[in-house]
Amino acid sequence: MNSRNFSQVGRSVPRIDGPAKVKGEAIYTDDMVLPRMAYGKIKRSPYAHALIKKIDYSKALALPGVLAVITGEEAPNKWGIVPQTANEVALAVHKVRFHGEGVAAVAAIDEETAEAALNLIEVEYEPLPVLLDPFASMKRAKEVRIHEEAPDNILHQAEQLFGDPDKAFAGCAYILEKEFHTSYVNHAFLEPHTSLASYDPQSGQLQLWSSTQVPHYLHRQLSIVLEMPMNRIRVTVPAVGGGFGGKGEASSADFCAALLSRKTGRPVRVTYERSEVFATNKGRHPCHMKMKIGLDKDGYIQAVDFDNTLDGGAYAGWGIVVMFYTASMIHLPYRVPNARARVRRVYTNKPTCGAMRGLGGVQPRYAMECMLDELAEMIGVSPYELKMKNAVESGYRSVSNLHVPHTEFKKCLQTVVDKSGYLEKHGKLPFGKGIGLAGGYYISGTAYTLYLSYKPHTTVLIRLDTEGGVTLHCAAADIGQGCNTVMAQMAAEALGVRYEDVHVVSGDTELGTFDLGSFASRLTYASGAAIKEAAKQINDKLFEVAAGMLGCRADQLEVKNCRFYSTFEPDKTIPWEKVVDVYTNTVGTLTGIGHFSPPRLKGIDLSRGARVQGANIGHSPTFGFSAQVIEVDVDVETGKVRVVKVTEAGDCGQAVNPMSVEGQVEGSIMFTLGQALYEEMKMDADGRMLNPSLHDYKVPTAMELPEIDSTIVESYDPTAPFGVKESGEGPVQPTIPAIANAVYDAIGVRFTELPITPEKVLKALKEKKEKEKQ
């Protein structure tokens, strides 16, 4: 079916979940109320680093209306999305490692009583020195240790060497070496974490509804912490108000709701306040990066040397994955023949960093795209020329073994440059106005399960009968990215019916078949492959019946627009539902099941511990690409940077739903624009967050929305199901460096630290003036 003659794929249909959300009728976890439901609240630490000497909750328990109190010692099993580094607990045991870490939880008959009970819990702490900076943390590790098992206060460090960068640098005509620092940012999704647990003491079954991106990984973690087999636990995902990576792990809301429900025998719901969302974070890692890039005399990249210190916060989380991704990300979307990466992820007494849209890519991309801009200036060519010259093409295999089966990256660069008039404007605009270019890419489809299993990553079951029509089952989580809609479109395409005819049952570990979760831009690709396989089984059966009814051979039939017809005799045709009717009446319900496993790459041996360099991360069956040209106005008196226009072009493969792609692109740009210019979690010296609200943590508003002109470039990956790639994380990558490059074009200052605030701009302008005077 690798034809591009699609009728359902490529349609800009409205989201399946759209109407209910627009009308305010979508049911989120916090909207749910069960009979006898109790309300859970978590008591949080006022210290960023302290030993817990004693917890006395007798007064809380005595408060009328309080049903139960739990502490960490009741469920000490460690959880974590990466099993090798799992070190979090449901509630702190003996020690707290960040300000706001949970130390106890209460269930009460109403929220007000639960809140009152928290104040009655007495906790005795012995404060320890607080480490907030990763370099101080490494330096003082002998004296202050955050985790017993990490004597250097380092979760993990690694070095990767490909080719001979030192030798390559020696032969380079142009070398640039710089440092970059990115900030501590949070996803700021609208819906705080919420979890509703209902444990049935008779059957021993636990049902959990949670605002999560990863029902499967949550399922596993619950099983570990609660010491219950997975088949006694069911996870359901109601409507989710955004995740962006922040719900890509379990949260203590999940564990506390479940533990309290088991203890009280009543349903318990825990919903975070916004301050708790910030306190538990899992946002982007601040990165302290040194990068060195060498070009030959013709401008071809010869070597990249990358050193990254990631500020990880208190626990492991996704940390090791993010760390390796930052190392991996330097290998695309430009050809890099020699590379070295030295990376370390350091513990500090801050809320833990984790996965955030475009994970591991955004920080090194910022460094690399800004440096290529500067290198172009050193050589005396346009950044466009330099980037085009080095851009990868279809079939490229990086030295780190990343294989790019198909790319239209050059077309993306070309499109944005043409449409924005970049070449006419760059370097020629009046002082204060600037234009900047950057490229980027992201993985699509992912490589391996975090717990190193070879099981398929996605299973899709399609069920078909007269009564239900087409029902697609998959435990994928639609967190607003639109996977339910695109799965329906792909299933409709494969079955020859209309998207409107497909019912999707997802987000449930019992009703849906297996899926790993919504992260790493994997779902369109993965579910697409599984859908194709499942649909084929169904079509094979229906074709036989249709052939009998039409009096022709099954292998001469096609199905399209809800009809079967013979390829050779087009008047031999029969409506699709008639065939379904006959099949159901004679055989019964028809099912097809399809699986997707990412293609294995040669040389990767998980049983021996994946010792192939770079093999552990960043590999992906295909990659999405994006290029952006951003125009800014800098108010040179106030220092305010205003993004005026963004011209974007993306290679997302075949767009299954172009309207959805546009939404992802525009969302990606705004999401990242905030991190470039406004957003930053600030802490005082004791590790207390100073701005844990959306009043003081400044995400861009509608007033900051620039004009966005995005183009979906013509693209089709012949190796991918329906030709698809990704569009939710690639367009995140170029925004920050494109803004930084535009600011440089406007005022001649290169910012290497985020966010680019008015005060920093003004200060830099003053320094520049001083220098020019000398």
Binding site: K640, P700, T701, L762
Partner: protein
């Protein structure tokens, strides 16, 4: 985030309202739009036993204008009403601008102009233009009424002269002078939903020659505990012909008068610099506008 338990009163007339505030005294809080009050209740900064909701009292609402006399704005008038009032836009442009910058559409639909001054946040939007426009406040109680300039009403961060039993009922704005114009602006990170790092309003009156400054008021917000009326800027500019050199001098003088602090929103140094920038811009804008009327 639960509020403490309180009794809720919703008086229908001014008389009822005065009786209630008088009787319940400092155990009670007046509730207008609630956009400040609810937040501090949730943060448990105060725990009043009674809330007296004045939204049902007609006498406290609305905008009335009489040509030659000026305008009266009821304290419980919603910010959105101020923002969309043709008369405010026409006569008191700086207030119109400030009203349009307060919070978001949703907040403006709830918040009242009286609440903004009574909450007395140093960063508040509307006190700055109101003081610039020489607004007087009307304070009433069961015992009677008093009036005073708004600058004497606000004492500092969350402090006003309101006594127990008193309600702020309105603002009186004098008729603008001929050949005058007012302008407002703020500095903040974003273009909406900002707690201002600095705000400022200017009211400028020209002589008949259209060049000489007859009268001038420049007020700064968020750089002192309460709206700061510049003494030096009028001293430099009044009686002089408008010119960029003098404006530069005036702007520097305003920056010198400001008493900003550093907090998570901005450093004192940045704020001081922005005072000069805003002063330059607003003086020019107000001058240009005054020449046109």
């Amino acid at each position: 985030m639960y509020l403490n338990h309180f009794e809720y009163y919703a008086p229908r007339t001014a008389g009822e309202a005065f009786e209630l505030v008088g009787r319940l005294g400092d155990q009670a809080k007046v509730l207008a739009g609630g956009t400040d009050l609810m937040l501090i209740l949730k943060e448990k900064l105060i725990k009043p036993q009674y809330l007296i909701d004045i939204n049902g009292v007609k006498e406290f609402q609305g905008i009335a204008y009489a040509a030659g006399k000026g305008a009266v704005i009821g304290a419980a008038t919603k910010i959105s009403e101020v923002e969309h009032s043709a008369i405010i836009r026409d006569k008191y442009f700086a207030l119109y601008q400030a009203a349009g910058e307060l919070g978001s559409v949703q907040v403006r639909a709830m918040a009242t102009i009286g609440g903004n001054s009574c909450h007395a946040s140093p960063a508040a939007e509307t006190p700055t233009p109101l003081v610039t426009l020489r607004a007087r406040v009307v304070i009433k109680s069961a015992a009677g009424e008093r009036q005073l300039p708004l600058e004497d009403f606000i004492l500092g961060n969350r402090k006003t002269v309101l006594g127990v039993g008193e309600i702020l009922t309105g603002f009186i704005l004098p008729e603008p002078a001929p050949r005058s114009a007012s302008r407002y602006a703020y500095i903040g990170l974003r273009n909406a939903m900002e707690i201002d790092a600095v705000n400022m309003a200017v009211n400028l009156v020209l002589e008949d020659d259209g060049r000489t400054i007859k009268d001038l008021r420049l007020v700064m917000g968020s750089v002192a505990p309460r709206p700061l009326i510049s003494a030096e800027v009028p001293a430099i500019l009044v009686g002089q012909e408008f010119g960029s050199e003098l404006v530069g001098k005036a702007a520097a003088a305003a920056a010198g008068e400001a008493r900003p602090i550093s907090d998570i929103r901005a450093s004192a140094e940045y704020r001081r610099e922005m005072v000069a920038v805003l002063a330059r811009r607003l003086l020019q804008e107000a001058f240009d506008a005054a020449r046109e009327v």
